[in-house]
């Protein structure tokens, strides 16, 4: 039981890393990784939102949208399959959750809001968040706790990636990079090399 969760957690961090294996959330990954401080803030915000939205979307998908999910209302609803609505539902949940989280954080923890605040609106359009929910739909988890572990693990994986690249970019500012490759170009190539490194986790069976 606990082993399964641990396996899923490790798998979602390293083997199925959002950035290096699926390229999700690349836009904010490239845009906000110029300094380590911003990278950490954005990474924490992603962990936070993924851990909340993936289980929430799991509940919505499992009890409202999937084929035959509505049978708890009455037998005449058992035929309904609303899964074509999943995309719109997921994105609506994410957008409203982000707004809600922003308000709650602002009310109860101004210090946290100061460091996370500016990143929260960016999260609604971070593909890693929607990607987490869509993968959850494909993977067919057996319970809400599994979905929560998956969401948290994916968030941690994304956090690791952005912190690593931000630290490298801070260092590389002092290196002699060819002018046309400066900035974006070299970041792409470094990310490629890092992804190559992460591929060594791929053969691991858990």
């Amino acid at each position: 039981m606990w082993e399964d969760y641990a396996n899923l957690f490790i798998k979602s961090i390293f083997i199925e890393n959002m950035v290096f294996a699926y390229f999700l959330g690349m836009c904010s990954y490239l845009a906000i990784s110029k300094t380590l401080k911003n990278g950490v803030g954005m990474g924490l915000a992603v962990i936070f939102v993924l851990t909340i939205t993936v289980p929430l979307n799991y509940l919505i998908y499992d009890y409202l949208l999937v084929d035959g999910a509505l049978s708890w209302i009455g037998p005449e609803y058992a035929e309904l399959d609303l899964s074509f609505l999943s995309l719109i539902m997921f994105i609506a949940v994410i957008a409203s959750m982000v707004q809600l989280v922003e308000m709650i954080v602002e009310k109860f923890s101004p210090a946290l809001y100061g460091s996370l605040g500016i990143f929260l609106p960016l999260i609604a359009v971070n593909c890693a968040i929607l990607g987490g929910s869509l993968f959850m739909q494909i993977k067919d988890f057996s319970g809400i706790s599994e979905a929560a572990v998956y969401g948290f693990g994916s968030g941690v994986g994304w956090f690791l990636a952005i912190v690593a690249i931000a630290a490298i970019r801070e260092k590389i500012a002092y290196s002699n990079v060819p002018a046309p490759l400066k900035g974006l170009g070299i970041t792409f190539i470094i990310t490629g090399l890092m992804a190559l490194g992460f591929m060594s986790f791929m053969g691991i069976k858990l």
Binding site: A31, G192, L193
Partner: protein, 229 residues
Amino acid sequence: MKKENIKKPSFLFIGRNSAEGIFSKKNKKLLSDPLDDNNPITVQVLGICSALAITVQLKPAVVMTASVIFVMACSNVIISILRNLIPNRIRIIVFLVVISSLVALVDQFLKAYAYDVSKELSIFIGLIVTNCIVMGRLEAFALGNGVWKSFLDGIGNAIGYGVILILVAFFRELLGSGNLWGMQVVPDFLYESWYVNNGLMLLSPMALITVGVIIWIQRSFNKKLIEKG
């Protein structure tokens, strides 16, 4: 009394006080700019997630490009029509609703008529919703410009995105599996003598490195794109 200075909405396809033709120089620039000087991927850094993941083969890349062209053109037009009615505070949610309904349309269409490709693209069609190109152009352009211009801007940016996508997919499929569009193009006698496919090109890290090299080449020709510092 203060003279009212409210901008009149121009719902028509061409702004009411613009005497310019449908394909004036300015409008042509909207189409051609995103191809090089203002390319969404290599310069604006938008929409990278999907660009990298589905470029192993040419076919999914072309399907993806077509879907993005459709979604961008339609969403730009819709938001441009509604731009004076959308309250500023909830605009992101309005954008998301418009985009996600269009994407759901594309998704269902592909499932019905091109099931193999839609299986291959898996969640990446869904991820057009959060593709920052669509959002970015809605926010930066369609919210402040007329319908026809927004339409051109949408098409132009989607094509700029598609050009990079197809370029990357072309090299990855050619070098990685010796095929183009699923058909073998590297002749058999080469394989028999010395040639071996570079399997590394099929793996995800090479997509990043290929885009990095494309950026490098583009910036060494187009010097004004080079980043300072």
